[in-house]
């Protein structure tokens, strides 16, 4: 295991070729920007720009959702896709929001990303300065910073990567990097069970505390590969499902609706959780529904996009608890 930065040169070379040959008109990857600890999506449109591309364990944001910006446009868009991102690609494909032919996917095998908030906090505290390179050495991460090489243990891995079962993309045109076996801790839904174990009053108080913080920035919706409707229910004028008033009732309505709209289609990429500016544990809503879908309808991997979605089908012998 040596980390994703190993394939940077190969990536740049391929993107340069693809852009120069006119096979793609844009490539969506990452570049190190104003905050070197938080690489941002980078849209390369000329062969010369391929030099700016990077890939390492700090390149977290999911790229496939940007495909919607190219909806209805001619030509092929190149895309850098990690395991979790490939499920987002599949989500968009199954929802008929993108065409497979309009994408050229460069997959990269990933062994887990860094929790950028955690890393940044430590870097600020210890004054590491800019980061130039990230490597993986065994279970540890090595950051080459202005203050020298810093080693970070596996506790800096993102929460969602600990239980990741899709380290190698499921869909790609070419794959960079060595394939890695999908070894993961079991998905045990411990955080969901924790809330289920509360008393109804505690649960009520817990969620009200979470939802009261919501500023309705819609970042969770915008980043979500399953939230891909052309007209979102929250933007409809009639009926106005969501009032403009800022209060916990409206916020709850928003989160209730959002979670149910992605029920059975959520790929558990965890991006909603990551982008929330007020740290609402959105994944706990998605994963509750995922857990129940798995248990009630006997679906082993409810996060994997399937031919027919769990709520778009039924079995006559489904459990029936209603009299």
């Amino acid at each position: 295991m040596s980390g994703m930065n190993q394939v940077t040169d190969r990536l740049r070379e391929r993107v340069r070729e693809l852009l120069a040959d006119g096979k793609i008109h844009t490539f969506i990857g990452y570049e190190r920007a104003w905050d070197p600890y938080r690489p941002i999506p980078f849209f390369a449109t000329e062969a010369g720009e391929a030099e700016r591309l990077i890939i390492d364990e700090l390149c977290v944001p999911s790229t496939p959702k940007y495909m919607l910006d190219f909806f209805g446009r001619e030509g092929v868009v190149g895309l850098l896709v990690k395991g979790c991102d490939s499920l987002a690609v599949e989500r968009l494909l199954r929802d008929h929001r993108v065409e497979r032919e309009s994408m050229y996917i460069i997959g990269v095998a990933c062994t887990g990303l860094l929790d950028r908030d955690k890393v940044k906090a430590r870097a600020l505290e210890e004054g590491w300065g800019a980061v130039e390179e990230v490597r993986r050495e065994g279970d540890a991460f090595v950051l080459v910073t202005a203050a020298g090489e810093k080693e970070l243990g596996p506790e800096y891995l993102m929460e969602r990567c600990r239980t990741c079962e899709v380290k190698v993309p499921t869909v790609y045109d070419e794959l960079l990097g060595e394939e890695v076996a999908a070894t993961a801790e079991p998905r045990d839904f411990a955080e969901v069970a924790e809330i289920e174990a509360m008393t109804p009053a505690e649960r009520r108080a817990y969620w009200e505390r979470q939802f009261s913080r919501c500023i309705r920035c819609f970042a969770c919706r915008n980043v979500c590969p399953a939230c891909n409707c052309r007209i979102c229910v929250f933007e409809e004028r009639v009926p106005r499902w969501l009032g403009r008033k800022t209060d916990v009732g409206e916020q709850e309505m928003f989160h209730f609706t959002r979670a149910l709209h992605v029920a059975g289609r959520c790929v558990d990429c965890g991006e909603c959780d990551r982008v929330c500016p007020v740290n609402i544990p959105l994944r706990k809503l998605n994963r509750k529904l995922m857990k129940d879908i798995g248990e009630l309808f006997g679906i082993e991997k409810p996060f994997m996009p399937a031919e027919t979605e769990p709520l778009g089908q039924f079995r006559p012998d489904d459990p029936d608890e209603f009299e």
Binding site: I195, E196, P200, A201, E202, R203, R204, A205, Y206, W207, E208, V233, R240, W241, G243, K245, D247, V248, G249, E250, E252, M253, F256, T257, A259, L260, A263, K288, L289, D292, I293, L296, F297, P310, L311, G312, F314, P316, D318, P319, D320, E321, F322, E323
Partner: protein, 142 residues
Amino acid sequence: MSVKESWEPKIIGFCCNWCSYAGADLAGTSRMNYPASIRVIRVPCSGRVNPQFIARAFQLGADGVLVAGCHPGDCHYSTGNYFTRRRMLLLTRFLEYLGVDPDRFEVRWISGSEGQKFADTVREFTERVRALGPSPKKRDAS
């Protein structure tokens, strides 16, 4: 919880046109007594009941919500209530997860000939909700 004596539970009932609404009709024409706490909303099929309807009912201060449809296998549209069943199985659990008392939400299969079952269901449900007291209103109607 201390409740004003005049308080009566307000229950929103979504009834499918072909079975449960006919069942409610039968209860009426048979002159069966059941509490006036229920406000019946006729829907073409229990499959029409969007979970947002239920969330909105609670948001506007409903004390209980009842969803009633044809028995599985008897749907006028053949399969509509099978989809409802999957959705409602999830929804009951999700509402509970969010801290809504599960006793405030009820799903029943009531056929067009089950006027008595409709009356009994409303009576039992009303009593259960009455015991819980009023549900907090979270939004002004607009």
